[in-house]
Amino acid sequence: MQRIGVFVCHCGSNIAAAVDVKQVAETLKNEPNVVFAADYPYMCSENGQQLIRNAIKENQLTGVVVCSCSPRMHEATFRKTAEESGLNPYMVEIANIREQCSWIHKDRMTATAKAVVLGRAAIAKVRLNAPLTAGESPVVKRALVIGGGIAGIQTALDIAEAGYPVDIVEKKPTIGGKMAQLDKTFPTLDCAACILTPKMVEAAQHENITLYTYSEIEEVKGYVGNFRVKIRKKARYVHEDLCSGCGVCTQKCPSRKGGNEFNLSLDKRGAIYIPFAQAIPNVPVIDTEQCLKFKTGKCGLCQMNCAAKAIDFSQQDEIVEQEYGAIVAATGFNPISLDKFGEFGYQTYPDVVTSLEFERILNAAGPTKGHLERPSDGKPPKTLVFVQCVGSRDTSGRGKEYCSKICCMYTAKHAMLVREKYPDTEVYVFYIDVRTPGKNFDEFYRRAVEQYGVHYIKGMVGKVYDDGAGHLMVRASDLLANEQLTISADMVILAAATEPDKTARSLATMLTASMDTNDFFTEAHPKLRPVESPTAGVFLSGFCQGPKDIPETVSQAGAAAVKVIGLLSKNKLKSNPCVARSDSLVCSGCSNCEKVCPFGAITYTEAEVNDGTGKEIRRIAVVNEAVCHGCGACTVACPSGAMDLKGFSSNQIFAEVDAICR
């Protein structure tokens, strides 16, 4: 049986003007279990709090009800007050008689009567309150960044700089990601490699950063502060620690059939290769699909020529287990496959390329050494047609409904670069809208139009075809002129829509992080918590959360790093004690609660229970209190009522309802 104290605040005249506070205190004093009731001008003042503290001690109160302003205002204050007198802070309930009573009801009788009812509801609730203690769990002071593109690198660097060890896991043989494949960056036109490679080197050399390249996440267990991750280091067949990066092996390799991924297969590479000159680590990898040694058992030229004895055909995948306090997803993006967009002839005509391919064509380290040559015959193109929104903003179901965000700007960049280097070309850009909301973006676009004379045509390309004489013809509509156009083009460059990397989906499952229908990671709150996933301890960096350009990616990467640093700086995590709790005697183990939990806080275990009819092994739900946020979705999904929410238990809410409806 509780001993409850009721404290009615005047809030100066804020409450007292509309509510007869003395009467409220007196009426509530007659409620069962109430042993003390008082009113005071400012309950939140030091004197008011002292009044509460004294009353708790003198009356051995086990529960406190404060009738005052909104709990959103002073619940924390009064909980602390109670704690100072040795009462569990969760034995305090607030009756909101200011915002929800005195401020909105003018009639004194009405407001007083309502204040009494609200007080009664709070008393009814506190009668069923139980002391709650916030759980604590230690924090492993190490972070994992999944993805080694600019987002991952930046996040890792920022975390490492703050003094915490951080591991980057990259599935490709090198870090660098998409940005490494870019030629110039908009709107400044500085060289991507020039600004990225120093960061790559920095990441590689940082004492707090460990790189796991050519590696994938195998398994994620645990929860915020205590993730246990298995990383699969795929066999490179080259020992990283022995390899000097001389590159002799790559030259000696007789196989030359492998498409060079870095150049999007616009040229070929050996079976043993370093993705690109500035790759980090600068260690080759063997493509077993192409390698003669693997295919036929004969060859081994590379091994013979390796002075460092780094090549090992018998190397196996290796599983590394590591514990982390926080995980950052930075899995990036890819252009979509254009299989469904036959009208652009991408599959048919070699001179129809994607923007990313074009990026490589323009790049000095690319397949054409930076000379603008068309893939079919290596001749310099004279007429170039850029098509925007290929698959973006597409509601037909073939592409993506969202805007890929970066295409308008890189197309302007490409057009501008072409026109600057090759003034004798004609460049057309077909667009639905040109979107330039960014610093110096619209200026950049206008330069393309005004200074470089790029022909921007509002309209969509209907078909790219061969006129029979070996000329690519582009049929399009000009919506502004309201006419059909046919342009004979030497090259067509398609701004393919972007999509999250395919591996993100399985990763999200492992992380129990939610994804939207486009497979972008969902943020914990779209406005207020954009770099956190709803799963505690999992953070989002870069394109995997939504389309972003480089500066946005870098700023989000930094933001994610700050969140990680904030988490890792704690020695222990205090969890919200108002979390779900499963009654093992009642739980049927049906898994319904697990299915609605947005945080993956519920797992199942086979446990021995005895509900009075004998011992039995049952499958029962277990709530991980460190992961549960206390939303209560599970409590309604549970038909047996085994799942309840501490601090907002069903019986407490019933009691409130009963008190209000009395």
């Binding site: 005697l585 009642v586 049927s588 183990g589 049906c590 319904n592 038909p639 047996s640 069903s650």
Partner: protein, 315 residues
């Protein structure tokens, strides 16, 4: 009998060591669920085997060994649900689907004024009812259970083996949702009167709950004094409403529409009309995917105001 042969074969092959099926009852026309460890010749399967056996598996699979379970098409969906919700150990069951051409509701025969019934013989589409006063014939279709007349389908799901599926017959004559639609078309006062009249007959015997394959909770909230919801008796009309509203809500998205609730009700309350209302709404609002409707969502689901905006007497 084909079933007996199959059972004996499966048991001899070690697929199962006991059988859950039906056996003949005390009268010529009743059957009862039973466990057989031997004497498989006394396993009975005929048109009088209306009971759904899948829920017995909750207790049965706690024991050692494998049970051979006879399942009608509608029962197989119940077993699927129990499996999905981890309420049975599926690996301890050999699920043998048996054909179904609808089951006979003995009460419907009585309702025809036939008294002193002592046996029922089935000849194709005609039943011969043997009574103290002589024999009478009844068209089989006339006396099928309500649940069989609006059957979801005769396809077994998730069985290890289905015996002679070609012997199953579609018995559906009514649109499954016709009863729901008819009620929806009434005005709220008429609906209220209908349900108040029906539900006030309830004696809270809990047969509907205890037979329901979706009501498989270890402890029902209505029986749990600490749930704050326990209500054992029909102490008030409200309790009836509460019990049936909440029970239907708890099986919402999980109900397999096997019709057992209505079959077992001694007061003949059409409880399936509650469950089917949810099923109909789910189909209409969320499509008829197999995932439980309350355990998932889409971002553009209908707002609760669709109910509010619906006109009176909507269909």
């Amino acid at each position: 009998m084909q079933i007996t042969k199959t059972i004996k074969k499966l048991v001899s092959e070690g697929k199962a060591d006991r059988v859950f099926g039906w056996k003949k009852g005390e009268l010529g026309f009743d059957t009862e669920p039973a466990l057989f460890t031997e004497d498989f010749d006394s396993v009975v399967y005929n048109s009088l085997c209306g009971a759904n056996l899948c829920k017995y598996m909750i207790n049965e699979t706690k024991k050692d060994g494998t049970v051979l379970l006879l399942l009608k098409p509608c029962d197989s969906r119940g077993l699927q649900l129990l499996t999905k919700e981890h309420r049975v150990r599926r690996e301890k069951i050999y699920a043998l689907g048996v054909p179904c051409r609808g089951k006979i509701d003995v009460d419907k025969i009585s309702d025809k004024g036939i008294k002193g019934m002592i046996d029922i013989q089935e000849n194709g589409d005609t039943l011969t009812v043997v009574t103290l006063y002589g024999e009478q014939t009844v068209p089989r279709q006339d006396v099928l259970y309500e649940k069989c007349l609006s059957c979801v389908g005769k396809e077994h799901v998730g069985c290890d083996e289905v015996l002679s599926p070609e012997l199953s017959e579609d018995t559906t004559v009514n649109d499954r949702f016709a009863g729901v639609t008819a009620l929806e078309e009434k005005n709220p006062e008429a609906r209220f009167a209908f349900w108040r009249s029906q539900l006030s007959k309830c004696i809270r015997c809990n047969a509907c709950r205890n037979v329901c394959p979706a009501c498989s909770c270890v402890k029902c909230i209505f029986d749990n004094p600490s749930s704050g919801m326990d209500s054992k008796a029909n102490a008030d009309d409200f309790e009836e409403n509460l019990y049936h509203i909440i029970r239907s809500f708890h099986v919402c998205g999980r109900c397999t529409d096997c019709g057992e609730c209505s079959r077992v009700c001694p007061e003949k309350i059409p409880l399936h009309l509650l469950n089917r209302k949810y099923i109909k709404d789910i189909h209409k609002l969320y499509g008829d995917g197999d995932e439980a409707a309350l355990l998932t969502f889409t971002k553009d689901d209908a707002e609760p105001s669709v109910v509010y905006e619906r006109g009176e007497g909507h269909a």
